[in-house]
Symmetry: C2
Subunit: 353 residues, 2 copies
């Protein structure tokens, strides 16, 4: 079969069939005003008939737009090296997409200062980025920020911890409740009915704590669901220097016997480990996060289990989903719970953070 005209592709072919210019096709394609209903309908018909799919490469190239993303995470601190991992995840994603017209501006806040957080959010909103990746810490301030994003029509992705009823493009991170539940399951394998469990929440900022409480909730739920009779004690430590931690723990151990398991609800477990190591207590210790300081204690057997959730990958995925959304309008899953990994002395060398 002979073709009367050489076959054109894309907008040109649509234009030819509709007897209009490609500019008009472009207008219809992007729902821009200034096209009569009649031609619009005709063009739309052809678009459907041809099952037209735009060439994203050409689209990005011609539009001359670079996509600007902003990321906001805690800055590294002497208290924990945790945030190095997400940062390296962001940088990895950056390396993969910076040749594709994506720019990433990285902002950092002090986890102990809600003011520093608010300051950064203001700077970000003023810079009007195309998308935001946020590791929220201060609930109220974070909500204010994400509301600001929504008003400006800036899509944002949350990772590491979630925020109450928000309209984020996606949440990527642990199911906090579930990780507490899992910790409880581990614990239940290892204790008998009369042993006591001590839950330790360590955090200076009250606001960081809803995070920790979710885990605690999960833990308690497991014991309840499985009718475990064990006593569950709980400690809220707001002074995060070692001295305070030591004192609080000493007191607790003095006043309670039969504490068989200590479950620290965040990555600060290494400080409790130090106490347990120095005081030579015989307890099972469970905590969170694959940090250098924690791994030492895993290796010498003071920490028995570390619950981890690939912080680097979380951030990497966060950037990539913004990229996919903004550059290609690809659908993004609303929630991506990271797997809950259990690291022990045995599988520790093989864990990839």
């Amino acid at each position: 079969m002979k073709k009367s005209t050489t076959e054109l592709k894309g907008v040109k072919e649509i234009a030819r069939r509709a007897n209009v210019s490609i500019a008009t096709v472009d207008r219809v394609l992007h729902n821009r005003p200034g096209v009569s209903k009649q031609t619009k309908d005709k063009i739309n018909e052809i678009i459907i008939e041809l099952n037209y799919q735009p060439n994203l490469l050409a689209q990005r190239l011609a539009s001359r737009k670079t996509i600007r993303l902003a990321t906001l995470i805690p800055m590294g601190s002497k208290e924990t090296s945790y945030w190095e991992a997400p940062l390296s995840g962001i940088e990895q994603a950056e390396g993969e997409i910076n040749q594709l017209g994506i720019i990433i501006d990285k902002y950092f806040y002090d986890q102990n200062s809600s003011d520093s957080f608010t300051d950064q959010t203001k700077i970000i909103l003023e810079s009007n980025p195309d998308g935001v990746l946020l590791a929220p810490s201060f609930v109220e301030e974070s909500v204010k920020f994400t509301n600001g994003c929504t008003e400006l029509g800036i899509p944002y992705v949350l990772f590491n911890s979630d925020l109450p009823n928000n309209d984020s493009l996606s949440y990527i991170g642990p199911n906090l409740y579930q990780s507490g539940y899992l910790a409880a399951q581990l614990i239940s394998y290892l204790i008998s009915d009369k042993d006591k469990v001590l839950i330790v929440n360590i955090s200076k900022e009250i606001d960081n704590r809803h995070h920790l409480l979710k885990k605690e909730e999960g833990t308690r739920a497991y014991f309840k669901d499985h009718h475990k009779p064990n006593d569950i004690l709980k400690l809220d430590i707001k002074q995060t220097d070692y001295k305070s931690i030591e004192e609080t723990l000493s007191e607790t151990f003095r006043e309670n016997d039969n504490i068989k398991v200590v479950f620290v609800t965040n990555s600060r477990v290494s400080w409790v480990a130090r106490y347990i190591d120095e005081s030579k207590k015989d307890v099972i210790l469970i905590g969170f996060d694959f940090l250098k300081e924690n791994l030492e204690y895993v290796n010498n057997g003071v920490i028995d289990f570390l619950i981890c959730q690939k912080p680097k990958e979380q951030a990497y995925r966060g950037v990539m989903s913004l990229y996919k959304h903004l550059a290609f309008s690809l659908p993004v899953e609303k929630v991506h719970f990271m797997p809950i990994d259990i690291v022990t002395k045995v599988n520790c060398p093989y864990y990839q953070n």
Copy 2:
């Protein structure tokens, strides 16, 4: 400071500075012949000075080339639904990159027929794709195939199981030895010294078995490393119908008492579960893979632990690393071991395959 000429970008700016045409710049950029040493040197100097980074979007668009990938995995079978997951991973990747000039041709082989495997590999080599994703089953035939790829200069990625000394672009999948080791650790929590452990390898094709043997090795290593005195029995089942499996197991249980743990080294664990369920044996059962048929037995408590390694994600990552390598010359990690996930009745609802 005033610029005498308006600032140009990319090849144009290089051409201007070198006083040549952009065609010549292009030749140097791609190391094509037909440029005098002198101009070549000058241009290279400028490239370095400008730290020129090509616009990948424009590159792909102008080259008019589509990248063709071929994937080769087992076809779905009535024996196991396992391979649906990798396929859906491939399809997900396809959805994300098919607008970017990537085409994926999917090939399938019958896991019980090395001939079907060889046939498909021939077809693939003849089609001369730009990259190959392979889930190898038959070692010898697979090696022949990957050698063919290497000869033709086709990069290939292996996933699900590795091949001995190969030059693949990347391997993505479990550390088989390590997952056997982990299973042993689980087991050791749950048994006492006099209990026996039964390892069951189920596979029709001998060649599939090096896969299973690696896991067995890991398991034995753990018991050795930790000086466990337990008896470890082993069963190689080559007839994969239920009748044969039932008979073999019955016999083994008749001849041995104190079998406390049964460890099935692949996803066929549901058949053993059926036997254990029907015969009402009181043993701990451990196996592999998040399959519908296995999950039933996890939920009714017959299977205690399932070791999983995200088969969908493996395949997705495999395609994406080929894409990144071919489209953007991005570096690809030579080995990506998937995390070894432990699924129990408790965390099962939260596991994402």
